[in-house]
Amino acid sequence: MSALRPGAGLEASRVSFARGSRLVVDGVDITVPRGAVGALLGPNGAGKSTLLHLVAGVEAADVAALTLDGDDLVSLRRRERARRIALVEQDVQAPTGLRADHVVGLGRIPHQSAWGGDTSRDREIVARSMLAAGAAEFAERRYDELSGGERQRVNLARALAQEPELLLLDEPTNHLDIRAQLATLGLLRRLADDGLSVLAALHDLSLAASYADHVVVLANGAVVAAGPPAAVLTPELIRTVWGVEAHVLRHPSTGRPLIAFAERADGHAAAASTDGADAAATSVIAGPGGPEGFAP
């Protein structure tokens, strides 16, 4: 285990990646200090998933300087990288017939040789990871028969079994009920407090604001804003990036930003532009004021 030192955690700079002629990730700089939760925000197609894949090494960036605890990730061997970075994808297709604890055991693959069984250490880490992720009670059930929230806990346990220093998650609260969403984010918060670095792509701005130490907002593959949630998540930024009108309130108990979307009298959310995807590019064209502007 490398000692905590200045610059510990993930430092990514000038990350770029083109798919065909389209620049999907465009010179992104991002830092996740050790023990911090970073939230990656942005509309669909902003490049969040791709950026996570590039950091995980699933796809190779065209240009990038990536270091984890000061070690160059680009030159790191694939297996070595998998021992230090774990990725939880969104919407994975469930394999049939695999038991939950065997799914978690997959996380040990980067640590194991091709031949030979699981060591007692492997089994201990699998059990410990399932316990940490709250998945221990369904260890022997089939993964494809679990609920969405239970599966997500197993996915997290699998990632923890890799014993990573950096945990990447692509919309980990997708399709979960609110209780499971809070449980997932609360777990990430606790893991970070124990020293893991976490970078998660999220859609829910209020949830991101309450659990993340800092947020990075992407639009069209580039960083639009980055910093503590309270400094970044302003009505102006939300209008610019997502093209919707929002009030930023203060959470009554945590004091964190709480985003309330303005609603028109006819029940439709007030879009600042008819096309949300274009809104980021044409950021100045905001709608005609707030909800009042549309009042009949």
Binding site: R78, D118, D194
Partner: protein, 361 residues
């Protein structure tokens, strides 16, 4: 690592509560037990299957003959009976074992890499491609090139199937199997045409043997070819269990677990083509072995490949020994192409898998 170190005491508690159920499906104890049982069953099957046939032989006769040929004892059988054991039936049984084991391994590897429960060397067209390669060199009188040609045919068929499936919208089970069907049809027709054009006498039987598979011509040369391929390609494939496990959640997950996905997939698929080629060169296109056995073994020991691969290989060997014994004795003195019997079992298995895949989209 420090992440969950503080929770290790809880984990130890959980671990101590669990071993009581460790022997359930997927537990290592169960896999090892199944492996030992199958090894015993395989040894017994080899000896027993050799005794079965028109000339009555006892297991003791077979053991005596084996011992004599291995230099472990005096020859006690008459030369005629010893010839039946050692020159006719033993090579055939051993070839059946090697082909069954190899096809089952190919099935497991292809199912894992394509994430398709219906993948099998026969259904994806590899066997038909290998048959074309084999038949062409036999017609040209180039028997020395047999394994190479069969390999080339299997590889061409695999490339055609995967290319066609990808062009038709991706490697889903449905498109892959349909592409395999198209490729099999064309390669099967080419095999038939080549034989029909070249053969002088019993071309129909010959065509049937290649298209449906038959072990009737198995001699020691066949044992060497199929057994050699099994040792050189099949056994190394048995060590890829963890890599195949990594594909359970797809390519991205495998890559995030440290697997070099394109290279690994290409290497392992070429290996299955190589193995299929060698097996088809001695037996023709025997279908469904790579489908039936892996799924049967999964029901007993679960989906983890470190157990699934060797157990499927052993089960495949036992299975094909007995199915082939049926093929040569059921309609004695006439022989069935063994592929008729494997299809009789494999068709319903295929149907059952199809229905199950429909229930879990």
């Amino acid at each position: 690592m420090t992440v969950q170190a503080s929770r290790s005491t809880d984990a130890a508690g959980a671990a101590s509560r669990r071993p009581a159920r460790a022997a359930r499906r997927g537990g290592p104890a169960r896999a090892i037990g199944a492996g030992l049982a199958l090894i015993g069953l395989l040894a017994a099957s080899v000896v027993l299957a050799v005794t079965i046939g028109p000339a009555g032989l006892a297991p003791a006769d077979v053991l005596a003959s084996i011992a004599a040929h291995l230099g472990l004892g005096e020859a006690t059988l008459s030369p005629l009976r010893d010839g039946i054991v050692w020159e006719l039936r033993m090579p055939r049984v051993l070839t059946a074992a090697a082909v069954g084991a190899g096809l089952a391994i190919c099935g497991v590897v292809m199912q894992a890499l394509t994430r398709n429960p219906l993948a099998d060397p026969y259904l994806l067209g590899l066997s038909s491609g290998a048959s074309v390669g084999a038949v062409v060199v036999l017609v040209l009188g180039l028997a020395v090139a047999l394994p190479v040609a069969a390999f080339a045919g299997a590889l061409a068929a695999l490339a055609a199937t995967l290319g066609l499936a990808r062009a038709a919208g991706g490697l889903s089970p449905t498109t892959t199997v349909l592409a395999g069907l198209a490729v099999s049809a064309v390669f099967g027709a080419i095999t038939s045409l080549v034989i029909f054009w070249s053969a002088t006498n019993d071309s129909y039987r010959e065509i049937l043997n290649w298209l449906l598979g038959s072990l009737s011509g198995a001699d020691w040369a066949a044992v060497v070819l199929a057994g050699g391929a099994l040792l050189l390609v099949g056994v190394p494939l048995l060590t890829t269990g963890r890599t195949l496990d990594a594909f359970a959640f797809g390519d991205t997950a495998a890559s995030a677990l440290g697997v070099h996905v394109p290279r690994t997939r290409a290497l392992l698929l070429v290996a299955t083509a190589l193995l299929t080629g060698a097996l088809v060169a001695v037996s023709g296109a025997i279908g469904f072995v790579g489908l039936i056995l892996p799924h049967a073994v999964r029901l007993v020991v679960g989906s983890r490949h470190r157990a699934l691969l060797p157990l499927s290989a052993l089960a495949g060997a036992v299975f094909l020994i007995w199915v082939d014994t049926g093929a040569r004795t059921l309609f004695d003195p006439r022989e069935l192409p063994v592929g008729i019997l494997t299809a009789l079992v494999g068709g319903p298995v295929f149907a059952a898998l199809m229905l199950r895949a429909r229930r879990t989209p």
